[in-house]
């Protein structure tokens, strides 16, 4: 077995290369059914982090992935402009914004059903490896209650993984790297 390459911090200068213009758009803005996710990234003192990078990965609205390791075979192709992936640097006010479609639920090998979710990676200066969390949807109360990941996490931390509806129809998902409201992060 070859030796694995260890992680190192993304540092403060990733913004030179990693962001691209349509990075935050899993689907183009204004696409039918598009959901806007907004949020802020905070450190352990409650200060915003203006030099972080958020990446998301998710299924399409049918719960499918255009990927050879999805054993259910090719997707229906109904979501041609959908790429499942978004990348958004945080702004000077610590905020990020992603436009996507709500994913479908997912089957699992043990027969349980995962509620619609996004896998979220956070990179920043001061993070020697990415940290990974998940965002769930607030209008999926029953599916969230049955979700095999979410149901393993106790309140009040569990609530931090469910986005909060905003008045204008957006969803808010704030991420706290540390502190009283520390987000649940996963060992992937």
């Amino acid at each position: 077995m070859a030796g694995l390459t260890p992680s190192q911090t993304v540092g403060p200068y990733f913004a030179m290369r990693l962001p691209w213009d349509d990075g935050p758009f899993v689907v183009p803005e204004g696409s039918p059914g598009a959901v806007t996710i907004i949020g802020r990234l905070y450190d352990g003192a409650g200060n915003i982090i203006p030099d972080g990078l958020i990446e998301t990965w998710q299924a399409d609205p049918d719960g499918r992935f255009a990927h050879p390791d999805d054993p259910r075979g090719p997707t229906g192709g109904g979501y041609r402009t959908f790429r499942g992936f978004a990348r958004c640097p945080t702004l000077p006010d610590g905020s990020y914004r992603i436009v996507t479609l709500k994913p479908g639920p997912l089957p699992t090998p043990d027969g349980s059903i995962e509620a619609p979710h996004l896998d979220v990676s956070v990179f920043a200066r001061g993070l020697l490896d990415r940290v990974v969390t998940r965002m769930y949807f607030p209008d999926e109360r029953a599916a969230n209650a049955a979700d095999p990941v979410l149901s393993c996490i106790d309140e009040p931390r569990r609530a931090g993984l469910v986005a909060v509806p905003e008045p204008e129809g957006h969803l808010r998902f704030d991420i706290h790297l540390q502190g009283e409201r520390e987000t649940v992060f996963f060992d992937v």
């Binding site: 390791d69 259910r72 990676s121 990415r130």
Partner: protein, 247 residues
Amino acid sequence: MTTEVSRSLATPDSGQLVLPSYERPSGLHPPLGSEGYRSTALRHPRQPLVLLPHRLTEVTGPLLGAELIIPTDSDLTTQYDGEPQGQRIIVTGRVLDSDGRPVPDTLVEIWQTNAAGRYRHWHEHHPAPLDPNFGGLGRAVTDAAGRYRFITIQPGSYPWGNHYNAWRPAHIHFSLFGRAFTQRLVTQMYFPGDPLLPLDPIYNSVPDEKARQRLVANFDIELTQPEWALGYNWDIVLRGRDATVFE
């Protein structure tokens, strides 16, 4: 608004969903809280990480590639009107998984300082000259054998505010996707013989000495092109997977 569950849960004919499972390296990556690297203090989680089983979202991932690339993306010495200052180098290697299998068609992104140790970034205050002919950004997609290749300039060292007289060893930042969300990796490549390596808290945050040394490229005279450029070889190894795992 709740999604119809029955519509989307088709499994293969066997009725059983069989997914690959990726190894979970323990002790490989730096601990998130690292005393020597000051910026980790308020930015690392203090609660234990929760184990996330590898299911569909984790064993798939964005397959970004050729559509994002233009030919000059992998030659950082030809992206501007003139030639950049500094020592021309070739940096090449393979992206592999830990079973030695190449990872083909995968996006590799790099960013680095110029020869003087200066990033082309609005937030960079190091009083070293910018080079009008060097941006420090590269992208490549691996070939069928998992190989990437960049032509660039030897990056410089630069001071940073971590502690008194702190200098980063010369490095090139690398970002990799592999084929699955679990394989995503952002790291840094260093140069052999750099006297700053033993002093650098970021390099030394990797606990295992052998793993740390895997971040250092090899100078390779065979890759070196006479009268033109020094050659460095650096392989990147991502987490491997079991071909079939029934959970």
